[in-house]
């Protein structure tokens, strides 16, 4: 491959990356107009658990308790006096923490957020550690069999 072609290639890549970032920033931050009340109700009921059905959100559930909560959320949204968080807090003050669908980030509950990150760090750490060891002890001589393997692999990759 010629040098000129690869330089051109690199410029195109840079351009592509910049365009992608620009599009993401533009699309990700643009204003989509005011939220409708219905959107707000959906957003709020998605994080409130239906108290009679384990694990389902009020948004999902058709149980009678869920219908009542949905109606109350709709009333409070319509009255326009409370923010979304305040409406959720109201429900927690009445039903207790069993209507919170999102675990808290304090106390023991925080573990559910911390452990996945911990697992990811451990897994990546193991991988980095493994590659270190491989690069230290990996064989540096290439046998004919190796080359054949590479060639086959390359063919297969295509």
């Amino acid at each position: 491959m010629s040098n000129a072609a690869s330089v051109k290639n690199k410029w195109t890549w840079l351009l592509l990356t910049l365009v992608a970032i620009a599009l993401l920033v533009f699309g990700g931050t643009r204003d989509t107009g005011p939220k409708t009340q219905s959107d707000r109700i959906d957003a709020i009921t998605k994080v409130i658990a239906c108290p009679t059905c384990q694990g389902e959100s009020v948004y999902v559930s058709r149980a009678s308790a869920a219908e009542s909560i949905r109606a109350e959320v709709a009333r409070q949204v319509a009255s326009g006096q409370k923010t979304d968080d305040e409406i959720v807090a109201f429900m927690e003050a009445r039903f207790g923490s069993r209507v919170l669908l999102v675990p808290r980030s304090t106390g023991l509950d925080a573990l559910v957020w911390v452990l996945p990150v911990f697992a990811l760090v451990c897994a990546l750490g193991t991988l980095v550690f493994a590659f270190r060891r491989w690069s230290v002890s990996g064989s540096s001589t290439v046998s004919d069999a190796d080359i054949e393997m590479v060639e086959q692999a390359l063919r297969d990759a295509e």
Binding site: P51, S68, A71, R75, R94, F95, A123
Partner: protein
């Protein structure tokens, strides 16, 4: 478990027994959690409202009168959330009838109200005509009273003290004995 054992695949020394033991210990702890898990754990009767002022309730009764909970201060108020098709509600009804009859003879009787949860007026009237119970039934047509108290599943019985504070929540069926006992305890503790 899974991410730990990646190690055994890549390491050169005798890692397998060590890692297997670690995984084993984690799995044992996990099994302990599963063994101690309580099947069908019952819904607790606690509520964040206990000891708090009762939510404001302003509605009408089946007979068309106004009902405002805060006007009932001075008496112990029992709210029974009810639906005429719910089986435990039907089952506990005779107990409530017996309780109401006896309570009406007391010197300072507790007031019992049925809060109609997701039911039609006619169905409730028909039910009470057939099964007795001449106390007031209050409407909760939009479900706001149920939500205000955090009622999950009928029947639920709540006790509000004469100062307007929530004192007790019983989720599920109630008996005359339980009501008497709890009311007695509460009266002794918070004054009648």
């Amino acid at each position: 478990m899974s991410d730990v054992s990646t190690d055994s695949a890549v390491a050169r020394t005798r890692l397998a027994p060590v890692i297997a033991s670690i995984v084993g210990v984690v799995m044992l702890a996990f099994l302990w959690v599963l063994v101690s898990a309580d099947p069908n754990s019952s819904s607790e009767a606690d509520s964040p409202l206990l000891g708090q002022p009762a939510p404001a309730v302003s509605t009408t009764t089946l007979d068309g009168e106004n009902f405002v909970l805060s006007y009932r201060k001075g008496s112990w108020v029992i709210l029974n959330f009810f639906n005429s098709t719910c089986v435990p509600c039907i089952a506990e009804h005779p107990e409530l009838v017996a309780f109401a009859e006896r309570e009406s003879q007391a010197s300072n009787p507790a007031e019992l109200y049925t809060v109609i949860n997701d039911d039609s007026d006619d169905a409730v009237r028909a039910f009470f005509a057939e099964n007795g119970g001449d106390w007031q039934k209050v409407r909760d047509s939009d479900g706001s009273i149920s939500v205000a108290f955090g009622v999950a599943k009928v029947p639920e019985t709540w006790i509000v003290d004469p100062n307007g504070y929530v004192r007790l929540r019983v989720a599920g069926s109630i008996t005359t004995g339980l009501l008497d006992e709890q009311l007695g305890l509460l009266k002794a503790q918070f004054g009648s």
